[in-house]
Subunit: 207 residues, 2 copies
DNA sequence: CCCTGTGAACCCCTTCACAGCT
DNA sequence: AGCTGTGAAGGGGTTCACAGGG
């Protein structure tokens, strides 16, 4: 598998395929044609076949795609077939909400250690997770074997924190802080900027 | 201005330009060249010039772009130069967090009426906003003159709610519910799927 | 010189259309 | 017949490279 020639947009669709397949599986559907899968996804059948063909030939001319098998395959591709533990930086409003967000658990993600700089929070337990001082990142984080982290903190000193996370083996980051963070070598960053989305909608609805 | 030939990705960058320009303005910078703006944005100078040239000729060969003027222009383009009131459906964990999210206020967005179907919540006040029954959407929503809405509810009956919102004049929707919603004619929907983002990161960090 | 604005080239992704198979 | 997988064409967005101008 050559990761370099997988379109980014295909990757983004993979999780939606998996969700659709999970629903089909629950309904007892054994196999599905690209046409039907496309309909459920809101894309073209050609798109479905192209996306899947990048990773191999999973389809059968007579029966289409095996639902259970394809669901499992995509799970393995995404790496969500086993539980992954995430670290989180920042325990404000947003951070505390994410701790109890069911969607993560359902998809095999679990927030483990959380870090903050506020001494009021350090040492306390939130939704079953102990809050550590950001100063103790280097001593605490390695125990949890996290490969991913969530940034839900303030913007000051963010680059330094990201650099430390990278040094500790964090490979990818979900960033809720609305400011540009330059990814260290080998680290992927996905930004979530809710205000930007609203501004986009505001622009589009003036058309 | 022909909206149809504005690349979607350019629209998404507009809010980032505005943020960068706001920072420059705060620092007392009067004008800026595409090269510097590109650096702050993390894009190429050609991209900056292309993006801005779509909306007009704002640059000056000798001095570059006027910071204050461009900041204002982009604000008007995005429609964030005046306060906009949003409606919100769903007052769970996420909904309550969004009510107190500072980022929205800072960018000129204000959540007005909130709706839920849980009779425990209806009539109560959360962060200064009264919670209405979703059954009263048609009688309550028109008073607020909302053009945008946020979906932070469960997935059941979502299409029906979206149709009702569209009938009441909602033009665009920020959707946190992880399921496909088919946009009614003339309505824009932006989906926020946090688990999908994590799955994407999970895939990428295996490369 | 070194800037902006922009036609043209380029690249990535999507869609078409069909060969190959059942 | 109707499906999958895939070369080839098409389209949207980015980058190149340069004309035009202070």
């Amino acid at each position: 598998m050559d990761f370099s020639k997988v379109p980014l947009q295909t990757v983004e669709r993979l999780s939606r395929y998996r969700r659709v397949l999970a629903d089909l599986q629950e309904d007892g559907v054994e196999s599905v044609f690209s046409h039907r899968l496309a309909e459920l996804m809101g894309v073209t059948p050609a798109q479905v076949r192209r996306d899947l063909s990048i990773f191999g030939s999973f389809g059968n001319v007579a029966r289409g795609y095996d639902v259970v098998e394809l669901h499992g395959t995509i799970g393995r591709l995404l790496g969500t077939d086993k539980l992954q533990t995430l670290a989180m930086i920042g325990l404000g409003n947003l951070g505390r909400t994410l701790l109890t967000y069911r969607g993560f658990q359902e998809r095999g993600f679990h927030i483990g250690p959380v870090f903050d700089r506020d001494s009021e929070k350090i040492g306390k337990v939130y939704a079953g997770r102990r809050c550590y001082s950001i100063d103790d990142l280097e001593t605490v984080l390695p125990d949890f074997k996290c490969k991913m982290a969530i940034l839900a903190c303030g913007s000051s000193g963010l680059d330094a924190i990201v650099a430390r996370l990278a040094d500790l083996g964090i490979r990818s980051i979900l960033n809720f802080v609305p400011c540009r963070v330059i990814p260290p070598q080998g680290v992927f960053i996905e930004n979530v900027d809710l205000s930007a989305k609203l501004e986009k909608l505001s622009f589009l609805s003036k058309a």
